[in-house]
Symmetry: C2
Subunit: 195 residues, 2 copies
DNA sequence: TCATTCATGTAAATAGTTACATGATTGC
DNA sequence: GCAATCATGTAACTATTTACATGAATGA
């Protein structure tokens, strides 16, 4: 019972985390998560706005500026109790690790030889996608994190390390898999036929 | 609009896939997926049974034996139209690839130096978990797939390759990350360092 | 005998996304 | 003037899991 499971707890922690780095609006929280943790964490507006309201009503965050004239903006900052809860979660030994689904692997698992030709472009587009991610990680790695509060982000490097290593592993796998698929899929050009 | 998006389409394909390999009950489908594709795909009863009923009413699968005396069992087999739909999905260029969330990385992203000590056991337990998976993949790799219909499972090897490469990459990352955390976390007692 | 596994199914809860409505501001 | 971006929020939908109810067969 050490970590109480509140509704939406996963989104809550991501949002508290962002606010522990800096004040932000809901819109900015989404953009920050898309820019930095996109490979392992994203949030949509449909989660962010209701969760912000909840966190505020519980006294974990507060509104630091609320413009209602013209363009409406609500900028939030984290409160001591929010910070406490965030640390509590980070230190709690319970990590929820569910493997996550991969539809491309599912296709490969059930594929027959005759599907090989159609799978090649799918693995190729996965490779392109991964290639772009690898480039992004390298940019992150060589980039300064900027205006973080002292001590914050001390371990961001390990998450970039993970992303980069995963991307490189996946690129190597794509190469091997495309080769395997090419071997199963005979070129249409020649008098090769089968099935 | 080439691939029509039916409700529950992801579960549908996984189930059709299993039935393309062999006849099975709902219970067995779940067990088969847990045993072989667990690292990238799982289904719960809450998805399986309603989806089986749906697939049956659409003429994609059929009941091959229905015992109601004693222990009730319903064994399903795939129909030609189901097989057609399965191939159509496998060959369709649209692959849904959403990165999936990783709570451990989220913790590391927001962690401070002072959290390092508490994170070490968490990464260690992740390492243990991954170690076991790596052993499983090696067993799968060296194992005969058994009684699959001719040509089925021609590419299962690529999915095992993926799982094993991912596990090995993760083990290496755990090693590096634990080392980084140890450096940030001051030892609790003077004479203890290193294992 | 009794725990485990086999087996089906549903209800409720939880998680999360997408699409929409609405409008201001910025930069070209 | 106009496209892109900033900004908040909700409703509906899709997806998926968990917990429960029920009971037979197996094997130690």
């Amino acid at each position: 019972m050490s970590t109480m499971n509140t509704r939406r707890s996963r989104s809550r922690h991501a949002i508290l985390g962002v606010l522990s780095h800096r004040e932000a609006t809901g819109y900015e929280i989404r953009k920050l998560l898309s820019g930095t943790t996109a490979h392992f964490w994203k949030e949509s507006y449909g989660s962010i706005y209701p969760t912000l309201a909840e966190l505020q009503s519980e006294g974990l965050i507060q509104v630091v500026s609320h413009e209602t004239a013209g363009r409406e903006t609500k900028r939030f900052s984290i409160l001591p109790e929010g910070e406490r809860r965030l640390r509590e979660w980070i230190r709690s030994p319970e990590v929820q690790l569910k493997p996550g689904r991969n539809e491309l692997l599912l296709k490969l698992f059930f594929a027959r030889r005759s599907d090989a030709a159609a799978l090649i472009p799918q693995v190729e587009s996965y490779r392109e996608f991964t290639r772009k991610r690898a480039i992004q990680y390298r940019r992150f790695r060589d980039e300064d994190s900027g205006d973080l509060p002292p001590d914050a982000g001390a371990l961001i490097g390990t998450t970039i390390d993970f992303g980069l290593a995963a991307a490189e592993m996946q690129l190597a796998w794509c190469r091997r898999t495309i080769a395997a698929l090419r071997e199963l899929a005979p070129p249409l050009s020649d008098e090769f036929r089968e099935e």
